[in-house]
């Protein structure tokens, strides 16, 4: 059973449908016992980091996700859900994240060349920097769908894939049983479904 953490952020319709498409049983939940009993946990998210972290705390999911990660259950953070895994972010002031992966989240705009659009939106090829189970069977330069204005920095040791966008942007990370993708596997066609399947088979 896969538990998708429902903390009031983001559209979970596509994620649920994509898990159905790969024949994985998933529940969308904010019940502590269901999340702790799940074999795999997905932390979704869109919008602003500060807003997401506030809702994560308000729903009590902040501690539940931290404890679930500590128990060794594979966790996948997607987009802002990935950004929440880090220690802190610099969006609208400093917010403290889950601290499951060392690093910070910051705006990409001042760091990329002027001719690059913000948000970083569209299909960008991945460059694998390290072997990671999520990308098993997927060739180098597989395209996946991104939409974000902030990214993770200072986490080189944990980066498993980068997306070249004037500078290499953190596309995927891993720290033990904690995984994250800046891109949306549920919106990345067959490649995305394969990544979700790889996660579910961990």
């Amino acid at each position: 059973m896969i538990a998708v953490v429902d903390y009031g952020v983001g559209n979970l319709f596509s994620l649920k449908c994509s898990l159905n498409a790969i024949q994985e049983e998933a529940i969308i939940t904010r019940k502590e016992e269901e999340i702790k009993a799940a074999d795999h946990v997905i932390l979704p998210g869109v919008g602003a980091f500060g807003d997401a972290v506030r809702k994560l705390r308000e729903t009590g999911m902040f501690d539940v996700v931290k404890e679930t990660a500590a128990s060794g259950t594979p966790i996948l953070g997607i987009c802002v859900g990935m950004q929440l895994l880090f220690e802190r972010d610099l969006e609208f002031g400093t917010h403290e994240g889950l601290g499951l992966i060392p690093g910070t989240v910051d705006a990409i705009e001042p760091r990329i060349p002027d001719q690059f659009d913000v948000p970083h939106m569209g299909w960008n090829p991945l460059h694998y920097t390290k072997e990671c189970a999520l990308f098993r069977g997927l060739p180098e330069q597989t395209c996946v769908y991104f939409v974000h204005s902030y990214a993770a920095f200072g986490c080189d040791a944990y980066v498993t894939a980068e997306a070249e966008y004037g500078i290499p942007l953190t596309a995927a990370v891993q720290n033990g049983n904690v995984y994250g993708t800046q891109f949306h596997p549920e919106k990345s066609g067959n490649a995305g479904l394969a990544i979700l399947k790889n996660f579910c088979e961990l």
Partner: protein
């Protein structure tokens, strides 16, 4: 490097795709769910569903179609048409839309853009603009290009982005339907004033028009078209192969 996006647009009326008449290998080209699925298989990078219905009942039919498509197709979906309020955003986002495009609704009530951006994030708000040359400037038009709002298109787009639109679709009425290529002059002018992605629309008649678009304006993020794909004049796969041969990065 990020790839250029190719985006087919499906105009849906009474539950059927308008304009779809000749899509190779597809028996019922007017079925939006089937057509959307065929486009996805063919390599479309995103899909736009445009609701051109009027009544409440038809609106329900539209969201049912959207939901059916979103359950089967795992690429980004944008919905436009009849978006006048944050409630309209909610209605289509709940049925699987990822992005929502505003046009007339934002002209009537410009606060719609900041309201929706605050609630759903800028990445969700697409500003769609129908523009046409009037006395040497670009004006924003309404109601399918029939009414000149008098608004300066460049000012309107600049304001829309400043208030939270995360992407712009620029449809040139001057080139729309003519099939002689995109409106490069208008697109260059818009691209120069915003940093969000700009999608070119209106005028695509062949693969060469897309090649010209991305060669002439390398910053343009995507090309959108309807009839060229619906009538099977060029398949998305063939178009992307042509773009790749021309040195333009695409997802194949």
């Amino acid at each position: 490097m990020i790839t250029k996006r190719i985006i087919p647009c499906l105009d849906v009326k009474n539950g059927r795709v308008v304009k779809g008449t000749n899509f190779e290998g597809l028996k019922d080209v007017e079925d939006p769910v089937k057509l959307a699925s065929a486009y996805s298989e063919s390599g479309a990078d995103e899909l736009v569903f445009y609701d051109i219905t009027a009544s409440h009942e038809q609106r329900k039919l539209f969201t049912d179609i959207l939901e059916a498509a979103a359950s089967n197709i795992f690429i980004p979906l944008t919905v436009g048409g009849g978006i006048n309020s944050v409630d309209d955003f909610e209605r289509v986002l709940r049925c699987g839309a990822d992005k929502v495009s505003v046009n007339s609704g934002a002209i009537r009530r410009p606060d719609l853009i900041p309201e929706a951006a605050a609630k759903y994030g800028s990445q969700c708000v697409v500003l769609s603009v129908d523009a046409k040359r009037v006395n040497g400037t670009f004006h924003v038009f309404q109601n399918g290009g029939r009414i000149d709002t008098g608004l300066d298109a460049l000012e309107w787009i600049k304001d829309g982005v400043a208030h939270g639109a995360g992407e712009v679709v620029l449809n040139s009425i001057d080139t729309d339907g003519v099939k002689q290529g995109f409106d490069l002059e208008m697109l260059k002018a818009v691209n120069a004033i915003v940093r969000v992605p700009v999608i070119a629309s209106g005028g695509a008649g062949s693969a060469a028009d897309f090649v010209e678009l991305f060669h002439e304006i390398p910053e343009i993020s995507a090309g959108l078209a309807a009839s060229i794909f619906h009538y099977g004049e060029v398949t998305i796969h063939d178009l992307k192969e042509e773009l790749r041969r021309e040195g333009i990065q695409v997802r194949l």
